[in-house]
C-alpha cells in the first residue's frame, strides 16, 4: 500500500482529538447538587462497566473515524496487476505455455495447466487485430504448435491442443524457438509471454532474466505466474533394489528415496507394491526440506522380472507420489558360447568340457542358460539380452562383431576369451585389441609333455578364487594340471591387465581387464584338452563356473532399469521376431518389422511414468515376453522441487523480463465505506447512550 500524498498522514495526529476531548471533558464536567444521588449511585454501579465499555468503544470509533479520514486525504492506493497488454499497434507475440509435469498440480481443484491455458486464451482474445501470435509448448519447443498468425481461431485451437505432460521444461529451447519465430518477418513490437508456475527447475541458468538476456536480448519477455506461492510437495525421487542374501533366498532390499519439499516436518507412509499387490508399508519422518531413505525387504516367490512400485499419500502433485521399478530377481545367467572349433565328435568339440561344466546345475546358485553359436552369429545377435559371451578358440572377429562386443562389454557385459589352435594372434589383436587385457605375442608356445607348465601363483583375494578351495599348492583340484601350449602376452601397462592366475614359469594364465562397465577375462590356453589336461581336473568345473558367474555379476544383484520421462529409450530386439508389442502405461501398441530398425532397434518415446514392457511374436504367431527389455519410467526428481525461480536477477538485466505490470488502485472507496460503517457504529453507540 502506498499514499499519493503521504505528508497528509500527519493528520493522523488528529485521531487523538477525541481522547483529549474525553480527558478534558472529564475534568470540566459541571458539578450539580442532586438530592437523589443514592439512587444514582445504585444505578451507576450496575451500568458502570457497560457504560465504560461503551465509552471506550465510542472513543475508539471516533478515533478510528478521524484516522480513516486522515488516511483518505492522504489518498492511499495499492498495487494490483493489470490486464496483459500488448499494445494497440502491430505486434508479434509468442506464447510459451508450460506443459511440464509440475503444471499438473491441482490448486483449488483446478490443474495449474488449465489455469495457464485460460490466461493464454484471454490474452489471445485481447490481442489487437494487427497482432500476430505464435504458440510454443515449454517441454517441446522444437516445433511450435502454431507459427505467427493473425487467425485467432488457429491460435486458440493450438492452445486447446496442448496437454499437460510429464516432460521437463526446456526454457532455453523455448526462448530460442521464440527468437526464431520473432526473427522471421515479425512486425511491430515483439513480446514473449511465458505462462508457467515459474518453478526453479525450469530455469537452466538459475534465473529467467539471465536466460532471456542470453537468448532473446532485444525482446520483452513477460512471465505470468499461475501458481500460488505455497510450494509444499512430497515425492518419491528414487527407487533401487539389490539382493539381500542374508534375508533369504530371492530376498531383495528395495530402497525408496523420499523427499519433503515443504516448510514443515512431515511423517509419510511409503507403501510397496509388487506386481500390483500391496506387500509392505513403512513410515518415515522428514524435517522440512530434507530427504530420507526408506528400505523395504521383500522375498520374491519366483525368480524373473517383477514390477515394484513405492508410493506415498497423494498430494496436490500426484505425478511424483509414485515411483516405478522394473527389476529382475535371480534371473538366469544368459551365456553365449562362440565355438571356434566345432567338431562332430563331441569329445573333440571345443566346447565339450566347458559346456558340460557350465550346464552342471549348482544348488543355491543362479541357473545358466547356455546358447552356442559361431562367430558369424556375433554380428546379428542381440547381445543386449546376454550376460556373458565366451569366445572359444576363435580366429578373430569382424569389425562389426568387434564393435558389438565392445558395446556389449561397455554396458556391463562379461567377455571370456580362450585361445586355441585357430587363434591367429595378429588377427586377434587387430580385431579385439581394444578388448584384450593384454595383446597376444606371436604364435602359441609349445612345450613338451615332460616340460609341461603347471599353475603357479594365484590371486587369492580375487572374487573368483575366494569361493574356491585353496591349498599351499594353489587351487585345490588344479595343482596337477599340465599346460602344453600357451600364448604369451605382450606387456601393456596402460591397459591395467591383472593376472589372476599364472603358470609356474611366471607367465599369465588368466588375465582380467576392464572395458567400460564390463569385464574381460583372457585364458591363455584352450578350454578343451587340445593344449592342456585342465578340463579333466576336478577343479575345472568350479573354476569355469566361477569365471562365468564373476563375469555375469552385473546381473546378479537384481538388475533393474530406470528411464526418466521425456527421454527416448532404444531397445534392440532379435531380428527374427515378426511383430513386437509395446505395452506402455497408456496402452498397447503392436508394431510389425517395418517399425524396427535394420538391426531390430526400436525407439520408445517415454512420455508417461509407469512400466514399459515388450513381447514379441515369431512368424508362427507365438508370443514370448521380452522381460529383459522392459523398464520403469519415472519423473525427473528435479520436477518435484516446486520452489519459485528468480525472475529478475538484477536491475541491470538487459532483457526486460518482468512479472505482470502493476497499476495503482485507489483505496478511497474502501475507506469511504469504512467511514460509513464507523459513522453507523458511532450513531448506534450514541443512541444507546
Amino acid at each position: 500500500m502506498g499514499f499519493s500524498s503521504p505528508w497528509m498522514l500527519l493528520a493522523l495526529g488528529g485521531a487523538v482529538v477525541p481522547l483529549v476531548i474525553h480527558l478534558i471533558g472529564r475534568q470540566r464536567a459541571p458539578r450539580v447538587d442532586f438530592a437523589a444521588v443514592d439512587y444514582l449511585l445504585r444505578s451507576h454501579r450496575k451500568v458502570a462497566q457497560r457504560v465504560r465499555l461503551r465509552h471506550l468503544l465510542l472513543l475508539a470509533v471516533r478515533m478510528l473515524l478521524l484516522a480513516t479520514l486522515a488516511l483518505m486525504v492522504a489518498r492511499p492506493y495499492r498495487m494490483a496487476p493489470v490486464a496483459l497488454l500488448v499494445g494497440d499497434g502491430p505486434s508479434s507475440v509468442v506464447l510459451i505455455v508450460d506443459d511440464t509435469a509440475s503444471m499438473r498440480r491441482l490448486v483449488g481443484g483446478e490443474m495449474l495447466f488449465a489455469r495457464a491455458k485460460r490466461r493464454a486464451r484471454k490474452l489471445v482474445n485481447d490481442l489487437s487485430d494487427e497482432a500476430e501470435v505464435a504458440v510454443v509448448a515449454l517441454s517441446a519447443p522444437q516445433g511450435p504448435l502454431v507459427q505467427l498468425t493473425r487467425d485467432r481461431r488457429e491460435a486458440l485451437h493450438a492452445l486447446a491442443r496442448i496437454e499437460a505432460g510429464f516432460g521437463h521444461a526446456k526454457l532455453t529451447g523455448a526462448l530460442s524457438a521464440a527468437r526464431r519465430i520473432l526473427g522471421r518477418g515479425a512486425i511491430g513490437s515483439r513480446q514473449v509471454f511465458i505462462f508457467s508456475d515459474l518453478a526453479a527447475h525450469s530455469m537452466d541458468a538459475g534465473s529467467m532474466s539471465t536466460q532471456a538476456r542470453s537468448v532473446v536480448p532485444d525482446v520483452r519477455v513477460e512471465a505470468i505466474d499461475v501458481a500460488p506461492a505455497n510450494t509444499a510437495n512430497h515425492a518419491v525421487v528414487a527407487l533401487s533394489a539389490k539382493a539381500a542374501p542374508l534375508e533369504g533366498h530371492r530376498a531383495m532390499r528395495i530402497e525408496a528415496r523420499v523427499c519433503n519439499h515443504s516448510r514443515e516436518a512431515v511423517t509419510l507412509r511409503p507403501r510397496l507394491e509388487v506386481d500390483d499387490n500391496y506387500v509392505a508399508r513403512g513410515r518415515i519422518s522428514l524435517k522440512a526440506g530434507t530427504c530420507g531413505t526408506k528400505a523395504f525387504y521383500h522375498t520374491f516367490k519366483r525368480s524373473g522380472v517383477h514390477r515394484a512400485v513405492v508410493s506415498i499419500g497423494r498430494d496436490s502433485f500426484e505425478a511424483d507420489d509414485r515411483r516405478y521399478l522394473y527389476l529382475e530377481v535371480e534371473s538366469p545367467l544368459r551365456v553365449l558360447l562362440i565355438n571356434g572349433d566345432p567338431s562332430p565328435l563331441r569329445h573333440r568339440d571345443e566346447l565339450f568340457y566347458l559346456r558340460a561344466a557350465l550346464e552342471t546345475p549348482s544348488a543355491r546358485q543362479r541357473p545358466m542358460v547356455i546358447s552356442v553359436s559361431d562367430t558369424a552369429a556375433l554380428e546379428g545377435a542381440a547381445l543386449a539380452t546376454l550376460d556373458v559371451v565366451a569366445l572359444c578358440n576363435v580366429r578373430g572377429a569382424s569389425a562389426k562383431a568387434s564393435a558389438a562386443l565392445e558395446a556389449f562389454v561397455g554396458r556391463g557385459g562379461g567377455l571370456f576369451i580362450t585361445l586355441g589352435a585357430h587363434t591367429d594372434a595378429g588377427a586377434f589383436n587387430a580385431a579385439l585389441g581394444t578388448l584384450l587385457p593384454q595383446p597376444l605375442r606371436g604364435g602359441a608356445g609349445v612345450v613338451g609333455s615332460q616340460a609341461a607348465l603347471h599353475l603357479g601363483r594365484v590371486d587369492e583375494r580375487h572374487p573368483i578364487f575366494t569361493k574356491l578351495a585353496l591349498s599351499a599348492e594353489g587351487v585345490v583340484g588344479l595343482a596337477k594340471s599340465r599346460f602344453f601350449r600357451t600364448y604369451r602376452l605382450k606387456p601393456a601397462p596402460e591397459r591395467r591387465g591383472r593376472a589372476l592366475l599364472s603358470y609356474d614359469d611366471g607367465s599369465p594364465a588368466l588375465v582380467e581387464g576392464a572395458v567400460g562397465e564390463g569385464r574381460v577375462l583372457l585364458l591363455t590356453t584352450s578350454v578343451d584338452r587340445e593344449w592342456t589336461d585342465l578340463p579333466i581336473r576336478p577343479g575345472y568345473l568350479p573354476l569355469m563356473q566361477q569365471i562365468v558367474r564373476y563375469l555375469g555379476r552385473a546381473a546378479a544383484g537384481g538388475r533393474h532399469t530406470e528411464v526418466l520421462v521425456g527421454a527416448r529409450r532404444q531397445v534392440v530386439v532379435d531380428a527374427s521376431w515378426d511383430r513386437v508389442e509395446l505395452r506402455t502405461p497408456e496402452g498397447e501398441h503392436v508394431l510389425d518389422r517395418s517399425a524396427l530398425g535394420s538391426e531390430g532397434q526400436l525407439e520408445v518415446v517415454v512420455d508417461t511414468p509407469g512400466f514399459y514392457q515388450l513381447r514379441a511374436a515369431d512368424p508362427q504367431g507365438r508370443w514370448q515376453s521380452l522381460d529383459s527389455l522392459g523398464f520403469g519410467a519415472n519423473l525427473d526428481p528435479a520436477e518435484s522441487r516446486l520452489d519459485k525461480g528468480k525472475i529478475e536477477s538484477s536491475a541491470s538485466v538487459a532483457a526486460k523480463v518482468s512479472q505482470r505490470p502493476r497499476r495503482r488502485v485507489s483505496l478511497a472507496h474502501t475507506l469511504a465505506f469504512f467511514v460509513l460503517l464507523l459513522l453507523g457504529a458511532e450513531a448506534l453507540l450514541t443512541r444507546h447512550g
Binding site: G25, R26, A29, P30, R31, V32, D33, F34, A35, A36, V37, D38, Y39, L40, L41, R42, S43, H44, K46, V47, R50, V51, R54, H55, G689
Partner: protein, 303 residues
C-alpha cells in the same frame, strides 16, 4: 396527576410572586373559596351514612326503621362540624432545597401554607411540624387568627439544611396527636425508613386521616441531564461523576422502584399517597387533599 386545569398556580406562576404569604393568599383566594367541607364525621343533624351496629355504639343512634326493613341493626352517622385538628409535617432537610424556579421546600411551604390557610378560614386548627433530622419547629394546633400568621411566618423563614429522619418526627407526632386528626406529610422521602412508614400506618389505624405527599422535582423524575456531570449529594459529601445518558434508564427504574415501595407500604395501611411534582399546580394538589370524595387510589393512579 394533571396540572392542566390548575395552571394558574403552577410553580412558575408562583415563583413570580414574591413571598410565601402572597403565594398562599393567591392560591387560597383564587381557587378554594367555600369549597371545603369538614371531613370529620360527628353527631349533628345532617345525616351522613349508615353503619352496621357494633357493641359499644350509642344505642340512641340505632335506626329502627332500617331494623324493621332488613332485620339487622344499623347506626346512623352524621356530619361533624367540630373543629378539625390538622398536623402538617414539612420536611426541611437539605435534599428539599433542590429545584428551580421553586425548590421542593418552597413548593412544600406554599402547599402547607395554603392548606393551613384553608383550614384556618373554616375554623379548623392547623399545626405545623417542620423536621429534618429531628423536629426543628413545632406550632401546635390553634384556632386563633394570629396562629395562621405565626405559621406562615415560620414557613417563610424556613431554609433547607441537614439530613432527614421522618421516623423521629412521626414518633414525636404520635405522642402529640390526640383525637382523630388529619396528618399530612410533605417530603421527598429520600432515605425514608421502614419504621417511619410503620408509624404512618399506625396513625391511620388510630383513625387519623393520613396523607403522604411525596414531593419530587421534575429533574428527579425525568433525569434530563445530558453532559458528563459531577453529581453532589445534598445531605452528605458524596460526589459521583456520571454520564447521564448511560445511567438514565437504570436510574429511573431505581426511582420508580423506590416510589413503588413507598406507595405499596402506604396502601397496606390505607395511608393516602400522593406523588407530586413541583412542576404541577399547587391548587390541583390542594383539591386532592381537601376533596373528601377523593380516593387515595385514584390519586395514585394519576401519579
Amino acid at each position: 396527576m394533571s396540572a392542566g386545569s390548575y395552571r394558574y398556580f403552577d410553580a412558575e406562576t408562583l415563583a413570580k410572586l414574591s413571598g410565601l404569604r402572597l403565594r398562599v393568599q393567591e392560591v387560597v383566594d383564587g381557587a378554594f373559596s367555600g369549597i371545603h367541607r369538614a371531613v370529620h364525621r360527628g353527631s349533628t343533624v345532617e345525616f351522613a351514612e349508615h353503619k352496621e351496629y357494633t357493641p359499644g355504639d350509642d344505642l340512641r343512634r340505632l335506626d329502627w326503621k332500617a331494623y324493621a326493613k332488613f332485620d339487622r341493626f344499623y347506626v346512623r352517622e352524621f356530619e361533624a362540624e367540630t373543629e378539625l385538628r390538622a398536623f402538617l409535617l414539612l420536611d426541611r432537610s437539605a435534599s428539599m432545597g433542590y429545584g428551580a424556579p421553586l425548590t421542593k421546600l418552597e413548593y412544600g411551604s406554599v402547599l402547607v401554607g395554603s392548606l393551613a390557610s384553608i383550614l384556618a378560614r373554616q375554623g379548623d386548627r392547623p399545626a405545623l411540624m417542620a423536621y429534618a433530622k429531628g423536629v426543628d419547629r413545632y406550632l401546635p394546633p390553634r384556632a386563633r387568627s394570629q396562629h395562621l400568621g405565626a405559621l406562615l411566618g415560620a414557613l417563610e423563614v424556613m431554609s433547607p439544611a441537614g439530613e432527614t429522619c421522618l421516623e423521629r418526627a412521626l414518633t414525636q407526632l404520635s405522642e402529640l396527636v390526640g383525637r382523630r386528626s388529619l396528618v399530612v406529610v410533605v417530603s421527598d422521602l429520600f432515605g425514608v425508613e421502614e419504621g417511619a412508614l410503620a408509624i404512618l400506618r399506625e396513625l391511620r389505624a388510630r383513625q387519623h386521616r393520613v396523607v403522604v405527599v411525596h414531593l419530587l422535582h421534575r429533574d428527579e423524575i425525568e433525569f434530563p441531564f445530558e453532559r458528563l456531570t459531577v453529581f453532589k449529594a445534598m445531605e452528605s459529601q458524596r460526589e459521583l461523576l456520571v454520564d447521564p445518558p448511560g445511567v438514565r434508564r437504570r436510574y429511573l427504574k431505581e426511582l420508580e422502584s423506590f416510589c413503588h415501595r413507598v406507595r405499596e407500604a402506604c396502601q397496606r395501611g390505607r395511608v393516602e399517597y400522593l406523588r407530586v411534582s413541583t412542576s404541577e399546580a399547587v391548587d390541583g394538589v390542594l383539591r386532592h387533599l381537601m376533596d373528601p370524595q377523593h380516593r387515595p387510589s385514584a390519586a395514585l393512579e394519576e401519579a
